[in-house]
């Protein structure tokens, strides 16, 4: 987030070719953010949702996609119109004390998300170790996590991460494996379609927590800071914004199509399998590698390997972006020097925060016996619970005419976003009550 390359704009009616060129020059923030959304937390949460609840959560992706598009578009619009990041706007428009406490929560959430990415690296290690002779899996896991942390830190601070980002972006094509696998496993399409459009709801504690986790992993608070900063960084302006909007919408739909097929693949394999076998032979998802079963119809015995490669790619891709984004928005909010183009002595807070997030995130998962799946799942739950806070701040900002001029939200966008705030906040309160009184959630 250190280079600014403003697309040229003339304000005249563009030809179709010029429109395409403009789109390609602006494309990036939406699609990159969307792919970062299919991170370790996303893959594992969607997998777990399918494995544990079958197709019954598919309907959730329809409203989630709508809200994701709206929310990402709002951030991109605020970036293009104000030329400022979200944290910067929060600090300028609300009290420093409010900014401090809100950002503290988001930094803690991002610490969990960073640990989630390294948990993905740790989870893929035993699968790779299985293909290597004479390797101690535990030592290999530690070596991979430390290696990933060093790799991420080095590529980002040496300024070559933009190139690396594009390489990992290409590898995101591996997610298509879930789409193919979901088709190959011959799910009951009638059931799939029905579950996609007819909401099913259970008041059980597990179901409520899973809904919050799916919402939280799809519309993560950190993504809103990231996409707005990326739009500002790319120099996208008011007159070019329509192309950016297309980028955001394309990215949001892509991310949820992949999420949809991950759920279908896991439901059609693990959930259906567990329905038809005695408890002793059921597939228990105790480790991220267990959900690799969903890819077996596509690649047979290499399912675990493909899954591990996908998980590792997702982990390093997002681990390169997320802590950087966090350090960037905290420094942006409080006016500290920021950006990887500065030397350490010129931006000590930025580098210290970034290094701390990477070191603590990686350090937590190499503790022997660390509950990797728990770290991943509960980080997504935290994302979901924190979401209403960032949405309220965004709504308050985007409806201020002195900031947005004629680009304030219309009534439909406001109603949908406020509805999302209320729904997630109510789910959070219900989940908290169920957590305090477990008997209320044992439906």
């Amino acid at each position: 987030m250190n280079s600014v390359s403003r697309p040229i704009s003339t304000g005249t009616r563009p030809s179709i070719w010029r429109s395409i060129v403009m789109f390609l020059s602006i494309v990036g923030p939406g699609i990159i953010t969307a792919n970062a959304d299919n991170d370790v937390g996303g893959i594992l949460t969607y997998s777990q949702a399918g494995a544990q609840f079958g197709y019954s959560l598919l309907w959730l992706l329809v409203p989630i996609t709508l809200v994701l598009i709206i929310v990402q578009e709002m951030c991109a619009r605020m970036g293009a119109i104000t030329g400022k990041g979200l944290a910067d706007l929060v600090r300028e428009n609300f009290r420093v004390k409010v900014t401090f406490w809100v950002l503290l929560l988001f930094v803690l959430g991002d610490l969990g998300n960073t640990a989630t990415e390294f948990a993905g690296v740790a989870s893929s290690a035993p699968i790779f170790a299985g293909y290597l002779p004479f390797v101690n899996p535990e030592a290999f896991k530690i070596a991979m996590v430390v290696g990933a942390a060093v790799f991420v830190f080095t590529t980002v601070t040496k300024g070559s991460y933009k190139l690396i980002e594009r390489v990992f972006f290409l590898f995101c094509a591996v997610y298509v494996a879930y789409v193919v696998s979901a088709v190959l496993v011959h799910p009951d399409w009638h059931d799939v379609i029905r579950s996609s459009f007819i909401p099913q709801f259970s008041g059980s504690k597990a179901y409520v927590l899973m809904i919050i986790a799916v919402i939280g992993t799809t519309i993560s608070p950190w993504m809103q800071f990231y996409i707005q900063a990326a739009v500002v960084d790319k120099g996208i302006r008011e007159e070019d914004y329509k192309y950016s909007r297309l980028d955001v919408v394309t990215g949001a739909i892509w991310t949820d199509v992949i999420a949809y097929f991950i759920i279908v693949a896991c439901a059609a394999t693990i959930y259906v399998h567990n329905l038809h076998v005695p408890a002793a032979h059921q597939i228990a998802v105790n480790d991220p590698g267990d959900v690799a079963v969903a890819l077996t119809p596509l690649v047979g015995k290499f399912a675990s390997l493909l899954f591990a490669l996908g998980l590792l790619n997702a982990a390093i891709f997002t681990a390169s972006i997320l802590p950087l984004s966090t350090a960037y928005y905290v420094c942006e909010a409080f006016g500290f020097e920021r950006g990887v183009d500065h030397a350490f002595k010129d931006a000590p807070i930025f580098y210290s925060l970034y290094l701390s997030l990477v070191a603590i995130g990686a350090g937590v998962v190499i503790v022997p016996g660390a509950p990797l799946l728990g770290i991943i799942f509960y980080s997504q739950v935290a994302n979901g619970m924190l979401l209403p806070i960032v949405l309220v701040l965004m709504l308050l900002l985007i409806n201020r005419p002195h900031l947005m001029g004629k680009h304030v939200n219309g009534p439909i966008l406001n109603v949908i976003t406020w509805a999302a705030v209320v729904v997630v906040a109510v789910l959070t309160v219900v989940s908290t009550i169920q957590g305090i009184f477990p008997s209320l959630g044992s439906v």
Binding site: F94, K205, A206, V381, M385, T432, G435, P438
Partner: protein, 42 residues
């Protein structure tokens, strides 16, 4: 949530603080339940 200079608490800030407290309790409760039940996932 404008800056308040007359010492009165802004209701929006009180709601925000209450919600942040609920989030903290909610996450803590979920973690404690997972730990007590011995099951990582709910």
């Amino acid at each position: 949530m404008k800056n308040s200079t007359n010492g009165k608490k802004n209701p929006a800030l009180i709601v925000l603080a209450a919600y942040m407290t609920i989030v903290a309790i909610g996450i803590l409760a979920a973690l404690v339940n997972a730990w007590r039940s011995g099951k990582i996932l709910p």
